[in-house]
Symmetry: C2
Subunit: 296 residues, 2 copies
């Protein structure tokens, strides 16, 4: 990874995830907080119309509209499809972006704490994660690199490097002091990392790092009419990144029964009972805990 | 208070408060859970259109549309105004209601635990609260009787007796196992109380009861353009019903400063950082802790 000249910091990709939106307002007043000598940061309020309506999105999830074929299709022109093209012009275009690195700021209603989601496991990303853990031990590293970045639909895939900062628990349309501070702190360390990378003065990093590597997403059980038959079990509620062994309860059925984890591995659930995932009837994501080597 | 012949249990007055909506579905399948020998319970899904849109309301807050002059005004006919009139016909009419007692089931994003909001402090209500505390010690009793029931805009004011069951923390559009069980348990005890009241077999109740009596609601600070200048301070976040002394921080300003509690009494905040109250830029409600006598 060569020098990073331009960074884009994005908030409000989902209009009811407030932390990034409010941090952008502060940073726009005080841009020195997010700039460093070796690069320039621009700030993007991604979905102002959804924020105005105090909703995740108006027509469709903005953070799924950034695949090249969608960006190229002029017939896709609802609010979010149009906005995706604008953002792609502003900080992209994807495939040949003027922006080298994107930080996309998100909140979750799940108890995930300060999480950094990596979409690639190259040296730049892994060293970034290792640096972050040194500076912010409470940070959690989630690896979602099962698909190459070029095939990912996310906003932050516009540039050749992009990460998702995902911090909770925060209800939709709420601003929590602790969550805001976590997001501010994590963003600061990520920007410091980019600067140290640029000037080739990274500190000595640990040899290895613990990460949670995404495996699969579990659905809530439905009856034949598509009605939910259960909810996340109290045994796992709020216990994001705590291990669940095969046979442990994960879903409480409304009829009093329960469903257990039937995978063949010790799973680390996250995005547990995330409000926005109800659209697709999702209960939680499952990860494996891995120790990975950090490239020198 | 004479015998209660008809009870109405209402869920989904706010379409994204899920616990009551899901409990109604279960009880509609098993009505014996909410009926007792001495009375009949009907069940009302109050705002199905808002629930379908996964929002608190479509046009305006349904739970503020039940003042007699609003119900009588035929020119008020948006979604919630119309629905209010239908509900008033179904279980009212207000002033001469066929329903004797209404339980309206709500959720809050605030950490209020299982709260019962009383809108009147007559013998029927106070004994109900004392009975509930005996059976469910974790329950919290909130008294909002500063205005006579006849002047209150709430759905549950249609009948001569009505209470609000208010349980959190639960993000909007999420169903938590623990919150659902609290709501189920509290509703059961309230219905048991009504039956014991009807057959005049209430157990010996305590002489007195601790309640949180509503005093005032605090706003978030705004600048001249109406933009928020701060958020709920971490010092009080999640600490509903914990005392705050004058001079303690309650608001964190985005510029780094803080605002302290300037009242002249030890306050018990609740509805702290409730998502729905952002519409009106509210930060929290303040109560005083009182010990009140329970009528024999």
């Amino acid at each position: 990874m060569s020098k990073v000249n331009r960074v884009a910091i994005v908030g409000g990709t989902h209009g009811n995830e407030y932390s990034g939106i409010y941090l952008l307002r502060q940073w726009q007043k005080n841009p020195e907080i997010v700039n460093r000598e070796s690069f320039h940061s621009s700030m993007v309020l991604a979905n102002p119309q959804a924020h105005e309506q105090n909703q995740r999105y108006v027509d469709c999830d903005l953070n799924r509209q950034f695949l090249p074929n969608l960006l190229a299709d002029s017939e896709l022109n609802n609010i979010e499809q149009t906005r995706a093209k604008q953002i792609n012009n502003e900080i992209g275009p994807r495939g040949d972006a003027q922006t080298d690195f994107i930080i996309d700021l998100h909140n979750t209603t799940s108890n995930m704490g300060p999480s950094l989601i990596l979409l690639q496991s190259d040296a730049f990303n892994l060293r970034m994660a290792a640096y972050l853990k040194m500076k912010m031990p409470e940070a959690v590293i989630v690896l979602e690199d099962e698909v190459p970045l070029e095939q990912q639909p996310y906003l932050c895939a516009i540039a050749r490097q992009g990460v998702i900062v995902e911090i909770g628990p925060q209800p939709q349309s709420v601003l929590r002091h602790d969550v805001l501070e976590w997001m501010q702190t994590m963003t600061k360390h990520l920007l410091d990392y980019v600067h140290l990378h640029n000037i080739e003065q990274l500190p000595v990093l640990p040899d290895e790092l613990q990460v949670y590597s995404y495996v699969e997403t579990l659905k809530l059980p439905e009856d034949e009419q598509g009605n939910r038959m259960g909810m996340v079990h109290r045994h796992v509620q709020d216990r994001d990144f705590h291990p669940v062994k095969p046979g442990e309860p994960i879903i409480a059925l409304f009829d009093g029964g329960e469903l257990v984890w039937e995978g063949d591995y010790e799973a680390y659930p996250h995005f547990i009972n995330e409000a926005a995932y109800y659209d697709n009837n999702l209960a939680m994501s499952m990860a494996k805990k891995l120790t990975i080597d950090i490239p020198e």
